[in-house]
């Protein structure tokens, strides 16, 4: 029978490196995707995901199962992501200020979304849709964004998300309501086309 995350973590605490490998394999992809959607930079997302695992590993000796493993892990991830977003916003502000000074162009966006592979038309449409969604999610205030990602994509329980974001369950539900209201307006074309 498969061991639970808490059991795996207790085994890691007892010195079993193999259990850490299992946790890594299980949560590597969800973490990278959560962080990518938080920070929107794949490189930064990987870096932060590694940092999460590193912190889990470092804390193994003191681990006590007082919360679900996912609550703990996503709490570390959320805080790292929020810090990174805040740091990055400062950097972007500096860059865009430098740019506007250098080029006298204030309409220039501070940073472009990396546009990697060229693709066929159909793929383009899908990419545009995905990019629209990602953009809209990313435009949400940070806490709303984290709440939506944890609710919609990680499907964590309300009490878990509330603990991660340090708010009450009722406040979390209102937060989600407001976030989805914004997304509904921002993504109106998608929402309507799906509705037909």
């Amino acid at each position: 029978m498969a061991r639970t995350d808490v059991q795996l973590m207790l085994d890691v605490k007892a010195g079993d490196e193999q259990s850490f490998e299992l946790l890594l394999r299980k949560y590597r992809a969800p973490l990278v995707n959560f962080l990518y959607r938080m920070v929107r930079d794949p490189g930064v997302a990987e870096e932060l995901a590694q940092e999460v695992f590193l912190r889990v590993y470092r804390a193994r000796k003191e681990y006590a199962p007082s919360a679900k493993f996912t609550t703990w892990m996503f709490r570390i991830a959320t805080n790292l992501a929020l810090n990174s977003v805040r740091d990055n916003r400062h950097r972007q502000m500096e860059i865009s200020m430098d740019q506007s000074v250098a080029m006298g162009d204030e309409d220039q966006p501070a940073m472009q979304v990396p546009d990697d592979a060229p693709s066929i038309e159909q793929e383009m449409v899908a990419r545009t849709r995905a990019e629209m969604i990602l953009k809209a999610v990313h435009a949400l205030p940070e806490k709303q964004r984290a709440a939506v990602l944890l609710h919609k994509y990680q499907e964590l329980d309300y009490d878990e998300i509330a603990r991660i974001l340090e708010c009450s369950e009722s406040a979390l539900k209102s937060l989600l309501f407001r976030a989805y209201e914004t997304l509904r307006a921002e993504l109106a074309p998608l929402v309507n086309s799906v509705r037909v």
């Binding site: 992809a29 003191e62 709490r75 609710h151 539900k173 309501f177 993504l187």
Partner: protein, 176 residues
């Protein structure tokens, strides 16, 4: 967002209703409201459509180097950490440095009569306050520590120069 007063009760119920996790009483309340509010019926329908559309986000695969790189970072973890590495935030490191510098400066200050005690007390109070604030911020910024018994990991904090130790203890206790 709708300004309708009667809909305000939906704000903390509708999402849980739609994702199927509402409690029975909440579910009944939402159903009663939906039966009489066209606006919320549209909203509910569009929330569902939105969630559907949101499924289309591409899923990123971690790069092949992810595991190797993580293992390298774990292997590089120091077994025994130096003093400065125990300080989890630059602000705390700064406060400790300031504390040491200030106390050296204070002890080397010429003892000039009347003003001395007042100046010294003032500076000392300032330093104590700074250290306490830095300590508090450090704990607030490190939520990993909360509830997970990880605090013991920072035993080394008690090794800090101990002039304002009694002040810096308090915020740490509040966190637990």
């Amino acid at each position: 967002m709708s300004g309708t007063q009667k809909c305000s009760g939906m704000e903390n119920k509708l999402v849980a209703y739609l994702d199927g996790r509402a409690k029975p009483a909440e579910r009944r309340a939402v159903e009663a409201h939906l039966a009489m509010c066209a606006e919320c019926r549209v909203r509910a329908e569009e929330f569902r459509a939105l969630w559907n559309a949101m499924e289309d986000l591409p899923v990123l695969s971690p790069s092949p180097a992810f595991d190797a790189s993580l293992r390298a970072r774990i292997a590089a973890e120091p077994v025994r950490r130096g003093f400065w590495e125990w300080l989890p935030s630059p602000r705390l490191a700064f406060a400790v440095t300031a504390l040491v510098v200030m106390s050296v400066w204070l002890s080397s200050m010429p003892r000039i009569a009347s003003n001395r005690t007042r100046v010294e007390a003032k500076v000392e109070a300032k330093v104590v306050q700074m250290a306490a604030e830095a300590d508090y911020r450090m704990i607030r910024d490190l939520p990993v520590l909360e509830n997970y018994d990880v605090l013991s990991k920072f035993d080394a904090l008690s090794e800090l120069p101990n002039s304002p130790a009694s002040v810096t203890q308090e915020p740490a206790e509040q966190v637990q």
